[in-house]
Amino acid sequence: MAEAVLEREFAAVEVPRRGRAREGLRGYGLIVAMWIRSTMTYRTSFALSVVGNAAITLLDFVAVCIMFSHVDELGGFTLPEIALLYGSCSASLGLADLLLGNTDRIGVRIRDGSLDTMLVRPVPVLAQVAADRFALRRLGRVGQGVGVLAWAVWALGPQVEWTAGKVLLVPVMVLAGAGIFGAVMVAGAAFQFLAGDAAEVQNSFTYGGCAMLQYPPTVFAKDLLRGVTFIVPLAFVNWLPALYVLGRPDPLGLPGWAAYLSPLVAFAVFLPASLAWRAGVRSYRSTGS
C-alpha cells in the first residue's frame, strides 16, 4: 500500500532538471513522510519504542552513575564531566542514526535483490537507502542525549570559564559529531557492497565508538587514541571539543584549536565516504532474482 503511494508520488515528478542534491532531498523527504505515516498505524507500539529508545541509552548512563556511586573519579574525570562526553556523543549518534542510520539495511537489500527497484527510481540511491524504513522513534535517543548534555552544562556551569567560543562549541560539537558518525555510516554501507551482510562492522564503529567516547580518553591505551584520532577520526566527535571546554589537555598533545576542527573533519571524512559509496553502487551486481 505504502509502496504504491510512493510510486504514485514519483510518477508526478517530472524528469529532474533541478539540482541533484535538491532532487535527493525532495525524494528523501517524501520517503520519510511515507514511513512516518506507516509507523503511526500502530501508535502504542510507536510510543513504546520512542520511550524504549530513550531508555536504552538512559540505562547506559545509569550504569555510569552506578559506577560513580563507588568512585569519585574515573580516569581523573568527575561525573558531570563524563556526562558532557556522554550527552554529546549520544545526541550526535542519535541524530546521525535518525537521518542516515538505516543505510545499514542495504546488506539485506543487496541480498534479496530489492536494491534493483531503487536503482530505477528517479531519486539518488543514497537518499532512498538513508530514508528506507525511516525510524522516528530514534528521536528518543536524541532527546535523552540532549537532556544529559544540558544537565552536564548546568552542573559544570561554575567551574568552566565560559567564553563565547566555548558556548558555541557545544552545539557545533553535536552537529559536527553527527556529521562524522553519518560519514562512517555511509562508508559502512559502501563496505556492504563488498562484504555482503556486514552491518555489525558498521555498528562497532558507530555504537562502539559512542560507547568509547562517553568515557574520558585517559581511560584508553594511547594506540587506540591514535587510531580514533588519525585513522577513523572519532575523537573529533566530542573528545577534543569537550576537553577544550573543560580546559584539559589532549593526551596526544594536540593543540587547543584542534577543538574547532570538528566541522572541517566532518566535511573531510564525507569525501572518502561518498567516493566509496559511488564505487560501491557502480560495482553492484544484481542477484537477478
Binding site: V51, D60, M67, V71, L74, G196, S204, A211
Partner: protein, 271 residues
Amino acid sequence: MRRRVRLYLAVAAGGFRRYATYGTATAAGVFTNTVFGFIVAYTYIALWDERPGLGGYDQAQALTFVWVSQSLLAAGALIGGGFQEELQERVRTGDIAVDLYRPADLQMWWLAADLGRAAFQLAGRGVVPLVVGALAFRLALPADPLRWLLFLVSVLLALTVSFAVRYLLGLAAFWLMDGSGINMMATVVTIFFSGMLLPLTVFPGGFGEFVQALPWAAMLQVPMDVLLGRHAGAGSAAGALGFQAVWAFVLLGAGRLLQSAATRKVVVQGG
C-alpha cells in the same frame, strides 16, 4: 517418545545450520564483540584501579566477566536477535495457523530451533572474542574442568530462561500485532538486569540484591559467577543452578498458559 526426541533434535540441527550459512554476518559479529570487549575492558580497568575488589571481583575476574559476557551475548540473544521477531511475523501474517496444525508442540519446536541457533552462535561468535581477550589481558579463567562443566550446564539453563522470556514476547504479537516496541523495551530491560552493562554485584545495596533475584540474572550473571567460582561449594553451585532452573520452569509454564490463551484467540481466515 523417541520419535519426539528425534524430531526436536532435527529442528535444533536445522536452527544450527541456518545460522551457520551466514558466514560474513558471523565474522562481522565476532569483530563487533571484540571491539566492544576492548572498550568495556579499558573502562573496567579504570574502575577497578580506583576501587580494587569492587563487587567481589579482582581486576582479572572483572576482565573475565567482560570477555566471557561478550562471548555469550549472541547465543543468549541478550541484545536482540533470536527467534521472537520471526514468531511475531508469523502471527501477523497468519502463517502461525500452519504451525499450529503441525504434529509438534509449538513451544518445544521453537525452543529446539532456538537452542540450535544458540549452539552455533556460542561456537561461531563465542570462542574468538574470548581468545583475543585472553591474549590481550590477564584473565581469571579456571583450570578446573569440573568448573567449566558446571559453567556449560549453567549456560544451557541461561539460554532456556532467555528463550522462555522471548517466547512470551513472541506470543504478545497475538494481542499487539506489531512487536517492535515491546521487543525494544525487552532488550533495554535485558541489557540492564542481566549484568551485561555492569555486573549485578556492583549495583548498590538492596537494589543490588533485588536485581539478583530477577530472571534476567539467570541469563548472564549466574553463569559468570559459576565460572568465576563465586559458587565454589557443592551446595552453593546447586543453589545457583537451582535458581536458574526454577525461573526456567516458571517462565516456560507461563509461556504454555499464554500459548493456550493465544491459540483460542486465533481466527483462521479461509483461503
